[in-house]
Symmetry: C2
Subunit: 250 residues, 2 copies
Amino acid sequence: MSKIPPLSRQALSNLELFRGLPATALDEVLASAAPRSFARDCRVFNQGETRVRAHVLVDGWIRISQSGSDGGQVVLRFIGPGDTFGAVSLFTDRRYPADADTLTDATEVSWSDKALLDLMNSHPQIAINAIRIVGQRLQEAQHRVRELATQSAERRVAHALLRLTRQVGTATARGIVIRFPLRRKDIADIAGTTLYSASRILSAWERAGWLKTLDRRIAVESLSELVRIAEDESETGRGAIAASADRHAG
Amino acid sequence: MSKIPPLSRQALSNLELFRGLPATALDEVLASAAPRSFARDCRVFNQGETRVRAHVLVDGWIRISQSGSDGGQVVLRFIGPGDTFGAVSLFTDRRYPADADTLTDATEVSWSDKALLDLMNSHPQIAINAIRIVGQRLQEAQHRVRELATQSAERRVAHALLRLTRQVGTATARGIVIRFPLRRKDIADIAGTTLYSASRILSAWERAGWLKTLDRRIAVESLSELVRIAEDESETGRGAIAASADRHAG
DNA sequence: CGTCTTGTTGAAGGCTCTCAATATTAGTGG
DNA sequence: CCACTAATATTGAGAGCCTTCAACAAGACG
């Protein structure tokens, strides 16, 4: 459908995966790259699919979510411009471990397993970059494991929002706005709770005046209060839903 | 204290991190390796420490656990012979993200950041092996995130035990025995629950005759029942502690 | 024999889920 | 612009899993 302009060497060298490569190497990378574009709300790949490729998102936003045989679902990650995704499966069991859906119109480039391995073998820096990327995600995932195992639903929602503001927040007059629309169910799947608890927590925070949601877009007005919820040790581990906000609102 | 025999090329090539390397490369790897040995219950490195190295365990068992500022703690992983550990931090923020403690006497070899980077640059296969290793752990961690977010404490304990039997189980006359002693608190920290819940769940399973613990060592006698608990979809998501076992025991 | 660590178990309370009903908003076609 | 429909959000009530606290038992060890 749409025309996809060829990626420039310049653009390529700004991607974390290909950072620090000489120009000749970038040309090799470009030669084996397959561009593709998607409309909003499209499935880029399915959990379990075996024709795996290494993807880099050029433009747009993508949600990575995993669901179990029991129907339980979690959002693992949001992918933004410049992020690598779906690449780990090339090295493990050659099946995508999660679904990828576009949240906006999006364009990506991807490489086959063979192409990527060849590139890494001739340019080890690519492999080293990949270790850094995957390593960061491993640390994030482990951090999240601890969060889920030890903290209350309210604190997890606070953490989730803080991460979102950092990763995809834009400062505006109305506060820090999260760049794409999120349903309560999305928040719940990110924080590992239910739609209902997420709704209660967020509306309590709205009552307290710490954030607003307009058209599914969340605007955080008082980041410091969220930080307090997320860090405050006086909150006894697992704690009352939105108790802090309601205490505050009186 | 103890004498550490030099690692053979043969032994080295059996480690996943150095798989598929030519003999000359293995010699290079050996040249920069620093061996070290520990008694039981020793700290190998501390969470937050900045003098990071890449470690490979040659012999023994190590527990990797992370604790938060609030005191909450989780066991992230057990490290056995041949496993790599502590290496990801070389590529990210140059701080160990967790504590490492020996569960038995142990010997390891380690490499400095510079040595490992040099080796990877001259032998990309090492970097590619590392991606596979870290990638597998990322997938495991993400799987665990989903588990913690959606499943009941009982199912999580069942999953934890199943993972342990697979990773460190030995088949004996008494069933599958987990190779090193585990306290109830350890089980709780693995499964993301409390000491008390873990105790209740495990003693219910003992009553049902599905496992026994002798001297802190857990012996699983009926793996299939554990699998049933872990997978059974009739258990409504988050479910009654040890209800299945007590139902079974009458 | 005392002490310390670890494990078990009861009771109570509370956070969080589930279910249901209603309100609100988005999307569509006239 | 408005009616109509579907999707989403809010909120109450109730149940229940799990935590928390407390007391006690059982070994390990000097």
